[in-house]
């Protein structure tokens, strides 16, 4: 690893502080997601958790000096987005599912 790819002491300190803050936020989000109480608390908390993971990956990739990991962060945010959209779709069309299954049952006379 060439020295200029690695961050210097000050940058490292800042990056460490950042990751600490991000991790703290992640823990808080996880607590909210576990406790609930409503669906929307959870969805929000989970979404936030995903976003913070993306941040954490970015920070880590700068700490280790391998900025080629940044595309991973991109993928994570994409997956987070897909997950949340799928989840919201499900909560919105909850009733839709019933009609699907009832049509499935009607196949058996």
């Amino acid at each position: 690893m060439s020295p200029d790819l690695l961050p210097n002491a000050l940058t490292t300190g800042i990056l460490m502080a950042t990751s600490f803050a991000v991790l703290l936020t992640m823990i808080l989000a996880l607590v909210r997601a576990t406790l609930g109480p409503t669906v929307f608390d959870r969805v929000l908390a989970l979404n936030m958790f995903g976003t913070k993971t993306v941040l954490l990956i970015s920070v880590v990739s700068f700490v280790t000096g391998r900025s080629d990991f940044l595309d991973l962060a991109l993928l994570y945010s994409l997956m987070n987005f897909i997950g949340i959209v799928a989840l919201l779709r499900f909560t919105q069309y909850n009733s839709f599912s019933d009609s699907v299954t009832s049509s499935g049952e009607s196949n058996q006379p």
Binding site: S19, F20, L23, M26, I27, L30, A33, T34, G36, R42, V43, L46, F49, G50, T53, L56, I57, V60, S61, V63, T64, F69, L72, L75, Y76, L78, M79, N80, I82, G83, A86, L87, R89, F90, T91, Y93, N94, F96, S97, D98, V100, T101, G104, N107
Partner: protein
């Protein structure tokens, strides 16, 4: 770096326990996605970005969507609370204890003279430099060359799963119902 690792490990443990405890299935599924994200993050720190990439796409992406759509098809599924039996707990504790016992003679984490790191010599990285003429990503190089046959097997697994899902979910048309239904048949 250390505290990041500790924090991720703690978060992983909390998530796993939360998954075991929670009853609402949709929340459990989302937590499974989170679990995949977290383990993928740890994989990055453990120098396995390719696995992290795949785990994030497959574990957090595809399997979450698959599970959510299954849940959409099976309707609202909430676990029915029941009295818990102690047998599973016992089995799990015995298995876990066995594994912990097995770790006692393991080479320590990250140890440079672990068998995994010293054998084969020259290492895969060195060998692939010569064989692959400097393909930068060694994991890809290995996947397609030395262990290419495993990759063929992996593709076959996907093919099998695809055919199997078709086989299971395909609706029977009325006309090709089996000639007889279970039970009395007199030819």
């Amino acid at each position: 770096m250390n505290f990041i690792v500790f924090a991720i490990l703690a978060l992983l443990a909390i998530t796993a326990v939360a998954i075991a405890k929670l009853r609402e299935l949709w929340a459990v599924i989302m937590f499974t996605g989170i679990y995949s994200f977290l383990s993928a993050s740890w994989m990055i720190i453990l120098d396995a970005p390719d696995v992290a990439f795949t785990e994030a796409a497959v574990g957090a992406g595809i399997s979450t969507v698959l599970m959510l759509s299954t849940m959409a098809l099976t309707g609202k599924a909430e676990e029915i609370p029941r009295k818990k039996s102690l047998v599973p707990l016992f089995v799990v504790i015995v298995t876990g204890a066995t594994l912990v016992y097995g770790t006692l003679d393991m080479p320590h984490f990250g140890s440079p003279d672990a068998p995994v790191q010293v054998y084969p010599d020259p290492s895969f990285v060195k060998r692939s430099e010569a064989d692959m003429h400097g393909l930068p990503n060694v994991v890809t190089a290995l996947l397609a060359s030395y262990r290419g046959y495993d990759t063929l097997g992996e593709t076959t697994v996907v093919l099998t799963a695809g055919i199997a899902v078709l086989l299971i979910l395909r609706r029977n048309d009325e006309k090709d119902e089996p000639t007889q239904l279970a039970g009395n048949k007199t030819p």
